[in-house]
């Protein structure tokens, strides 16, 4: 986490950046997991 708390990048910016890519990816993974569960039914 070098430099994360120094002047420049804020925690909010980091959260926004990760959320921007993380939220759609998580939703997609969850959707795939739900479909994958059919293997075990």
């Amino acid at each position: 986490m070098a430099n994360a708390n120094q002047q420049g990048t804020t925690t909010v910016q980091l959260a926004l950046a990760w959320g921007f890519v993380g939220i759609p990816l998580t939703l997609g993974v969850l959707q795939t997991l739900v479909n994958a569960m059919k293997l075990f039914q």
């Binding site: 430099n3 002047q7 420049g8 479909n35 994958a36 293997l39």
Partner: protein, 467 residues
């Protein structure tokens, strides 16, 4: 001119206080978008009914014709990564990401026109050629930047980005299905509108990535990180010029290691659904097989991060040794799993195999960095991706033709894949041997301090001392 200059490497140098953890999401913005390529098959069926709407009519495109779209895109992925690698490296990540966004979105727009006018060659040029160039440039654009920001964890950093490429389909697939549902009517299949929407969404995402991305200032290093002062084992502190790398046996040995690892994985990835149903008739239904394919995709994505991160601790060469040895054992186990009817063993084997397939992609940039230094790693990685294109031909051909050969010679369907598995195991033995012969690059290939080939990219925080 001034507008375009913000794309230059000089304008992307990070100011003091910039967190390096902003760079992985920037890279993911690009890789998650271009990873859509793995979900292109979602459009196959709708594009065979553009005229007939409910079913294929005379004049509608055939699946075999549509299959070429993906193949052309893959060829141009490898080609553009190889050709534009040096341009990407010297121009910086923002210019490369911006160009990739233009190509990728432009490919969708051109394809939408192709669908609207029912002109297949426009889709070949749009998604295949233009989109393929976007794939290649986008794929390599953040690699060297991430390695420079994370000299202490290069495997983990590149693993995160390349994981995005594997995960792109998870977003693209449901999104495309949803959009097709929204735009389709009783008299119209909404493929063109879906392409336009996807093009806009991906352009926005990739532009955000290009805005966020930064290169480290010269001499920057993470807090507490002490760069080794001399080469240690396979890890060099020197740089090799991009075209000199081609003259080293190490480049070609790693090329074969990647090609063989990908060949083994890609061959079964495309056939997993049919293979599981034919090896376990009655036990694995088509619905369960679809779930199996989804699970494999998750392991493909997860393996990219886990294996690349692991390589930071056990070394790149050792990681590939694990891929080859463990892969050999697992491929040999698959026929046994089929013979005893163990679905669990079969599924476990393939999930680990496919995680190593993904791991092979994500570990190789750090492997190249170890061998050839940081300065041209992106460009060298681009040239290495031709191994992927080659494996894209070898893998499916081996699996499909061997299956056909076995079936026409009276082998039961349940056992038709056994020889294929043993051949894949054999390929990994060759890969093991290639990996075994990878040694440190001879110092005659190292760039000298007086070497003025290429332009020293501003912000290239290569810690390597020149020979």
């Amino acid at each position: 001119m001034s507008l375009l200059s913000i794309l230059d490497r000089n304008h992307t140098i990070a100011k003091p206080g910039f967190s390096r953890w902003m760079v992985p999401p920037a890279a993911l913005c690009v890789h998650l978008c271009i990873g859509q390529a793995y979900a292109l098959s979602v459009f196959n069926l709708p594009m065979t009914k553009l005229i007939g709407i409910t079913q294929s009519a005379p004049g509608d495109w055939k699946l075999t014709e549509l299959g070429w779209i993906f193949s052309i895109a893959m060829v141009f992925l490898g080609g553009s990564a190889a050709v534009f690698g040096r341009w990407v490296e010297e121009g910086g990540p923002r210019r490369a990401m911006f160009t990739a966004a233009l190509c990728w979105a432009g490919g969708f727009f051109l394809s939408a026109i192709g669908v609207y006018s029912h002109t297949l060659w426009l889709i070949y040029i749009g998604y295949g050629v233009l989109g393929g160039c976007g794939l290649g440039i986008g794929y390599i654009s953040p690699v060297s930047t991430l390695i420079k920001w994370f000299p202490d964890r290069p495997g983990m950093a590149t693993g995160m980005a390349i994981m995005g490429f594997g995960g792109g389909a998870f977003i693209a697939s449901p999104l495309s299905v949803w959009l097709l549902g929204k735009f389709s009517t009783a008299t119209h299949v909404g493929v063109a509108e879906t392409f336009i929407t996807l093009g806009c969404v991906y352009f926005f995402f990739m532009i955000v990535g290009s805005i966020i991305v930064r290169v480290p200032a010269p001499g920057w290093k993470p807090e507490g990180y002490v760069a080794p002062t001399e080469s240690k084992g396979l890890i060099t502190r020197n740089d090799v010029f991009v075209y000199d790398a081609l003259k080293t046996p190490q480049f070609w040995l790693i090329w074969w290691v990647l090609c063989l690892n990908v060949t083994a994985g890609i061959g079964v990835l495309g056939q997993a659904s049919a293979m599981s149903q034919e090896m376990f008739p009655g036990k694995i239904t088509p619905i369960a097989a679809a779930g199996f394919v989804g699970l494999m995709s998750l392991f493909n994505m997860g393996g990219r991060f886990v294996w690349a991160s692991t390589s930071d601790y056990i070394g790149r060469r050792n990681t590939y040794f694990v891929f080859m040895v463990l892969g050999f054992c697992l491929y040999c186990t698959v026929p046994y799993a089929g013979s005893i009817g163990s679905v669990v063993l079969f599924v476990c084997c393939f999930l680990i195999i496919i995680s190593m397939y993904g791991g092979g992609f994500s570990t190789v940039p750090a492997y190249l960095r170890d061998m050839f230094g940081t300065r041209y790693v992106g460009a060298i990685h681009g040239m290495l991706l031709t191994a992927w294109s080659a494996a894209g031909i070898f893998g499916p051909v081996i699996v499909n033709y061997l299956r056909e050969y076995n079936i026409t010679h009276g082998v039961p369907k349940a056992q038709a894949y056994n020889n294929t598995m043993y051949i894949m195991a054999g390929l990994l033995v060759i890969g093991f041997i290639c990996n075994f012969f990878v040694k440190a690059v001879h110092n005659r290939f190292h760039m000298k301090a007086t070497d003025n080939r290429g332009v020293e990219p501003a912000g290239a925080a290569s810690a390597g001392a020149r020979a």
